[in-house]
Amino acid sequence: MPHGYHGRILHVDLTSGALSIEQPEEKFYRKYMGGSAMALTYLLRGMPPGVDPLAPENMLALFLSVVTGAPISGQSRVTVAAKSPLTGCVGDSQAGGFFPAEMKFAGFDGIVITGRAPHPVYLWLHDGQAELRDATHLWGRVTGEVQDMLRHELGDDKIEVLQTGPAGEKGVRFAALMNMCSRANGRTGMGAVMGAKNLKAIVVWGNQRPSIADAAALKALAQWGATRLPQSDIAGLSKYGTSEVIGLNNADGGLPTRNYAGGVFEYYEALDGPTLYETLLRGAAQGRQERLGRDTCYACVVRCKRVVEKRDGPYLLDPTYGGPEYESLATLGSYCGVSDLAAVCKANENCNKYGLDTISCGATIAWAMECFENGLLTKEDTDGLELRFGNAEAVVRLTEMIGRREGFGDLLAEGSARAAQRLGRGSERFLITSKNQEAPAHMPQVKRTLAIIYAANPFGADHQSHEHDPAYAPYPERMAQIGLHDPQPPLTLNAEMVRYALVTQYAYSALDSLSVCQFVYGPAWHLYSMNQLTEMVRAVTGWDVSLYEIMKVGERRLNMLRAFNAREGIGREHDTLPERFFTRPLQGGPSDGYVLDRDEWQRAMDTYYAMAGWDVQSGNPTRPTLEALGLGWVADLLGL
């Protein structure tokens, strides 16, 4: 019997209703380990290029990993992958919560879904059993209602639900998948793919906990983390959640403000972690927010999740929908020039209720605001909304309108890139997108390796795909574990920083394959180092695994992502950045005047592809590179 996992992957054909179990060999688990890497093997093998992302032929793969559900912090995460309706590229997104561990306890390591059900259904997994059930009565309902109804229907308030919301049902291109009504597989529109399949939810419960190979070693590591946490560099994350990053990025001049016009928001303190902690966190009025306002994922001591509540005045807040992360505060807040914290929390709640990616949602609204400010949109276009930067009420209203594809919200539901194409009028110049995906709230002008990763990342601009620049210098011991020894001055984009970007991208790619939290494990400020991650995988699985092997899983996954895109005809020419990153210097604060140098960036990109072993002209993986990773079968698929 394997340790840490079941060796069981569920295949679901929604068109016929057929369910089957695959039991891959151990070496498959060892080579890919889980998460995104494992999901991609199915997408690449099972789907031809050119498929419409919202057609039945698109595959939706959900994967845990060999360590999901083990009793230690930061292991309860699930990857969802499919072809993205937002980008047309590979789609890939991770979420935490209790769902991932519970899905493992239900007896499955992964689910591969094809086809389209003739009517709405949900998938019910429990103790190794799987069945499809009618979900007609759940269709059109918001996430909180659906979770309540399923718990009532199945007679158990401990079941976990991962679902697509009304936004996903209506094909909003940045629809998220929600679990616990507050944890999102947010990016790349995976909710729209599930909605297009008439699959409303995946519901899990079980007692099938895989054995742990060395429970004593795992317990020692878990206890080390719990003891270390208060002195660790994620102590702030523990207390304030990611909302702490508002103040930190603002201090650095890196808090996107008014659609990336600047990196300093004059009202940042209204949105900052300490303000949230003292005002809207559940229990704050009674000083009980430590107990009531902080939430966690399965078995995690960090407890970085927020829960907000507001029972009077405008913008009532329902704790069912958790609370905002940094990205949500920034994109629905400073990105839109909004400083009303309650309104931003309400907009976040609406995103969780309808199932929307807060990043793309906020950034798309910010794009529309800049269009309005410049006269490209008028109140006639916006259903009467005075869509100026800072209009908090309009942001809240638009989150609902997008979630329902109502009025002007129907245009924004396409994402900003498609909306700009449809609108015309020169509105493309205000886009902050790469591969049609809106950029998150970390600024490449301030942290320069983001300029490589936002452009080159196969599923569009992403801030969780490598380590950011400021972490290189302060963590020499941990960086040395992955072969990085030579930090460079800030704002540098030379060969060493390209190497830093690529090597840490392999590391983060490995984390997304092991389906572990990128705050708890990682190469810098994280609670556990990459060597400790290796110890954890050894303790859970009993494999004599090395960090080299884990890093290779990350490299393998990155190459499979690129290969998926290559097959779709998407390569280097799609690895672009918003034009204004090169042409419009940031305004105000410590980053005043910062702008990217196009020649320097092009050189860095050349170096990046060459270092990755990819063709510098096309940006695509080569046969030797794929074969060096044991991915000859991918080279065959690409016809190399």
Partner: protein, 77 residues
């Protein structure tokens, strides 16, 4: 000399909540960023920004009237 200090995130818990992370400190006429961090009892890895310039090294000598911001390195989130 007197310098103003602005602490961010969890660092501001070193000051009373009403201060909201802001304080003014008297330091000897010759003092470095490292001395300031020691005075504040900050041992963890931080980024120091002075008068709008970030990433100031610990051996940098402070000047009277400097406005100092201290914050932790930021990854994703």
């Amino acid at each position: 000399m007197r310098i103003s200090v602005h602490l961010y995130g969890v660092l501001r818990d070193r000051l009373p909540p009403a201060a909201k992370g802001r304080t003014t400190l008297e330091l000897p006429d010759v003092a470095t960023v490292g001395d300031l961090l020691a005075t504040l009892g900050i041992e963890r890895r931080v980024i120091v920004s002075i008068n709008g310039r970030a990433h100031i090294p610990t051996k940098h000598i402070l000047q009277d009237g400097d406005q100092v911001m201290i914050y932790t390195p930021v990854g994703g989130g």
